[in-house]
Amino acid sequence: VVSTQSTGNYFIQTNLRMKLLTHNMLKSHCKGVVNGFPLKITSNQVDVKEIEFNPDFISRMLSRLDWTVFVQSANLLGVGEGLPDMLPEDQDFDDEDVLKKIHHALLEVEVIEGELECPETGRKFPISKGIPDLRLNEDEK
C-alpha cells in the first residue's frame, strides 16, 4: 500500500508506525541477555508513507546506524535494493541517489503489524497498530 503525504516539513507524520530508524536503536532487555541487538523483525504488514527527503539529515544519521543491521532489515522488508553493503569511509558521502534509497528504507517504510524477537531468548514482543510493546512481565524482570 503506497500513500502519499505531501508535507512542508521533514517529520510531520500521520499514523506513524515503527520505522527502521527506530528498529536500529531498539535492543532486547530480557534478563540475562548479553547482546540483545538487533531484534529480529517478522512482519506481515508493512506500509509506506512518503516523507520529505532531507539529505543533510540522512548524512548525519549514517554514523549512528548499525549499518549491517539496517541493510539486513531493509532486505527483509523488501526495500534493500540499491543499498551498499558497507558505508564508504568518506564522511561527506553525498551520492544523492543512494541517500534517497537510504531515506526511503529508513523513514518511509513502516511496520504496522508484526513481532520483534529477542536474538538470545527468542522472546517475542508484539507490534500492533504500529506500537511495539516492549514491556517485560513481572516474572521476566
Binding site: F11, Q13, M25, L26, H29, R60, M61, K129, I131, K141
Partner: protein, 529 residues
Amino acid sequence: SSGINAEYGAGHANGIGRSDVVALLDNHLDPAKYKLHFPPDKQFSLLFTDDICSDLLQQIDTTQIKNNCLYCAFISETISFDSFAEVRPPGLQLVMECVERDVEEQLMNMFLSHSENTAQEDLKNRITLHYGYKFDYKTNSVDLSSPLDEPIPACVQEIISKLAPHITITPNQLTVNIYQPGQGIPKHVDTHSIFTSEILSLSLGSDVLMDFKNPETGVILPVLIPARSLTVMSGESRYLWHHGITPRKTDALMDVTRRELRISLTLRECTPEPCTCAYPSQCDSQNYGKPDFSVHNEQDAAAIEREYVGDVYEKIADHFSSTRHTTWPGVVRFINSLPRHSVLVDVGCGNGKYLGVRDDVLFIGNDNSYNLCSICRDRGREVFACNALSIPLRACTCDAVICIAMLHHITTPERRKVVLQNLAQLLRPGGLCLVTVWAQEQHLDMNNSKEESVCPCPTDSTEEGVGRRHFTDQDVFVDWKKDRSLYYRYYHVFLEGELDGLIRQLDNVEIVEVTYEKANWCAVFRKTC
C-alpha cells in the same frame, strides 16, 4: 377545572417576591386553595389551583408589579407541586421554633456582650466564641487536654435538655458564630476524629440558606434554616456532605429574604475515640481513604508502581490526555536549544505533547501506558511501550533525552537512581538530558499574592483549574476523579537538592543547571563519556 398556571413576569428574576404575588391572588382566591412555587432565578412563578376563574386571569393580565407586566398561560404538562418540595441530604433534621423570641433576644445580647470582652482570632468572615473546649481553626480540632474555664452557659444547657427527644449526643463543646449580613462560612465537613455522630446548630436572629454539597456526586442542595430552629446533622449529612453559607446579603429559595444579624450556636460532643464511619473519603481517622505508603522490598515497590501508577494511567489515559495540552515553556526552551537533526527520546512521554514540538528534530517517545502510546500514535508520533526501569534502546544513540513529570512516580531512591542511569546510558557523549519532578515545596516562586495561587500557566503539578497543592509528606497519593470514580496516583515529591543529589551519584554525567519552575524541580545534565 384544575390547572397549573404560569405567571410570566412574576418571578424572582424580576425581583418579585412571594408576598407581592400573594397580595394579588388573595383578592381572588382563598389562600388555602392554591399553592405557589417560584423556580429559582426564573422570570415566572407557578400557580397550582383548582379554582381558576376568568376574573382572576383578567386581573393578572392587567396588573403590573414593580413595573413588570404580568400575563398568564396554562401549562399542559402534569406536574405535581410536591415535586418542588425541598430535598434534604439524608440524616438532616430541622426542629422549628425551639426558643421563644424573647429568649432568642436574650441569648443574642448575651453573646454579643461576650464578644465585646473577648479577643478575636483573625478570621476574616465572622466573630467566634468558644465554651467548654476551644475549637482550633488551624488543626480543625480540639485539644481535649486543655478545657476552657468557661463551660457551656447554663441557659444554653437548659434549651438542650428541653430538646432531648430530638438529640442523641451530650454536647460538651459550644462554638458561637456571629454573622453580620453578608458574611458566611466556607463549605466544610466537621472533623470526624474529634466530634461524634451528631452536630447541632441553633440559629438565632435571621433566616439563612445553608448549602449542602455532596463531594462525590457534586450535587448541591440549598436548605432554608429558619431563625430559632435547631439543625441536627447526622449520618450522611454529618459525615459526607459539606455544608456552608455563601457570603451574601439576601437568600432566594421559596422567597427572597434579606439577612439580618445572625448568631449560630454549634454544639458538639468531643471524643478521643477515632472515627469508624462509612465515609472514609472525608474521614481523617481513616486517612481520607488513601492507601498507606509502605515499601519493604522490590516487590512492594513494583506493586505500588503497578497499582498506583501503571494501572491508573491505563484507566484514565483519555481523560488524563485531555488535561495535558499545554506545553511548558521550560521544556520547549530545552528542545529548541538542541542542534538541528538531533535525535530526542522522551521517556514517559504521556500523550506525546512534546513529540513534534520541532520539525527538524527526530522524536521517539516511550511510555509505560499502552493507552497513552495509542494517543501518541493517533497523533502520528513514533512511540513504543516500555517501563523506564528497563529501556530497550541501544546505549549512546540519543542526542537528547527528556523525562518530564515521570521520575516522581518511582517509589524508592534506588529505583529512581536506576531510571537516571538508564537515561544517562541513552545519551551519546555530550548529549543532554532534562528531568523534571514535582517539588514538595509548592510555593517557592510565589510572593504569597492571592492572584498567583492558581497557576496561570498550568504545569503537570497544577492540573488545569486546580491551584497548587500542599504536601506535608514526600510520599503521597494524589486523587484523580474521572466520572464517578476516584483513583489514586503515587508521587514522591522532591526536596530542594534531592534531584541533583541523585544525579551526582552517577559517574558519567555532569550537572548543567538546576532550576525551580512552577512547583517543579528541573535538572539538566550532560553525558561526559
